[in-house]
Symmetry: C2
Subunit: 213 residues, 2 copies
């Protein structure tokens, strides 16, 4: 075999091996989850949000409708609404967005919104002042039970994830959530994506913080 062939074989085998290990990373842009009450207030009683595009997580989708979020320092227009509706309205932004808006949002796991700041939501029809719900989403991994077994991680385990992007780094304190309703993806926000040189399809290698039993 010539050198060129050997090189391309090595590259292909490495690529396939890496596909088998680790998890694909997705960068989440700013978005809102709305509850029934907020949808009613923003779009009218009983309004049904329009499915626009499926997300990687089964049953989750981008809606056609967009809203604005209003802070003391600026307004961010065209914010994506994710469906289906949730029990509690929640707005997920990056720290960069928080600085632009003029509101400091804490880093929280999705759903953990007690004591977080509120924000003003704006549709073409109406506005809603939230009393809480503005967060920077804590980085996390959604994982199927099968992948959890392969990766030898358990429910709510905290792991490190190594990203070999243009700006390699190791995310520490990454929580793993396991459910048969999930597809296996790590979610980071755009600040984290920019900090690691994220490109679509990039994969993270899981590093266990405690030895596997």
């Amino acid at each position: 075999m010539n050198n060129e062939l050997i090189t391309s074989l090595i590259e292909e085998v490495t690529r396939r091996a890496l596909l088998e290990t680790g998890v694909e990373v997705e960068a989440s842009g700013r978005h809102v989850h709305l509850d029934r009450e907020t949808v009613d207030a923003l779009f009218g009683p009983g309004y049904e949000l329009t499915h626009f595009r499926d997300l990687s997580q089964p049953g989750q989708y981008v809606c056609k409708e967009r809203i604005s979020i209003v802070g003391p320092k600026s307004v961010i227009h065209n914010v994506v609404i994710l469906g289906p509706i949730r029990k509690k309205t929640q707005v997920e932004i990056s720290s960069t967005d928080g600085t632009a808006l003029g509101i400091k949002a804490p880093v929280r796991e999705s759903g953990d919104i007690a004591g977080t700041p509120g924000i003003l939501l704006l549709s073409a029809k109406n506005s809603v002042q939230l009393s809480e719900g503005l967060i920077v989403a804590k980085r996390h991994i959604h994982m199927t039970p099968a992948d959890a077994e392969k990766q030898q991680v358990s429910q709510s385990e905290i792991v490190q994830v190594k990203i070999n992007g243009d700006r390699p780094l190791i995310f520490d304190d990454v929580v793993v959530r396991i459910s048969p309703d999930f597809a296996t993806y790590m979610h980071i926000d755009y600040d984290e994506a920019n900090a690691c040189g994220f490109k679509k399809g990039i994969r993270g290698q899981i590093i266990k913080k405690t030895k596997a039993k």
Copy 2:
């Protein structure tokens, strides 16, 4: 001793020990370094930039003058000029800025601008179209020879740096630059600062990638 006293003693000793180890981290906002030719074009022949505030690196300072940088998608106003003037004009932005401007800037070490995109600079008086010089600064550590000896790192060594912020992570691929003209600080940009939960005064612990000799 009561428990409260023990707790506060432990906290104080830990704090002092950590001050002795690792390096202080600074987040660099977007800024430009200008060469003589660009200063002349933007502010008039022979113009001297006005010292406004010293930076942590000896001899480096923020100037009173500001400029705008213009991309195809947006303009960023009020961009800081750092003095003194350099041999080559260089514009350092975050990836977030690049997305807003509509120009993708590569991650580069300061000074390594060959083949990078240009950008339009704008003062109240004039504009200058750069043919190159737009970069996202590669994370790095400035270090004094004394601190390099203490940390057991050598010129241009690549290390990891662990940051225990609100969003703990380990920066990989961090280059150490050693000079008696430096003060010891790690520099990251605002995307990286937001990704690790940066707060002023935060310190990073150096992790060697190869065993110390």
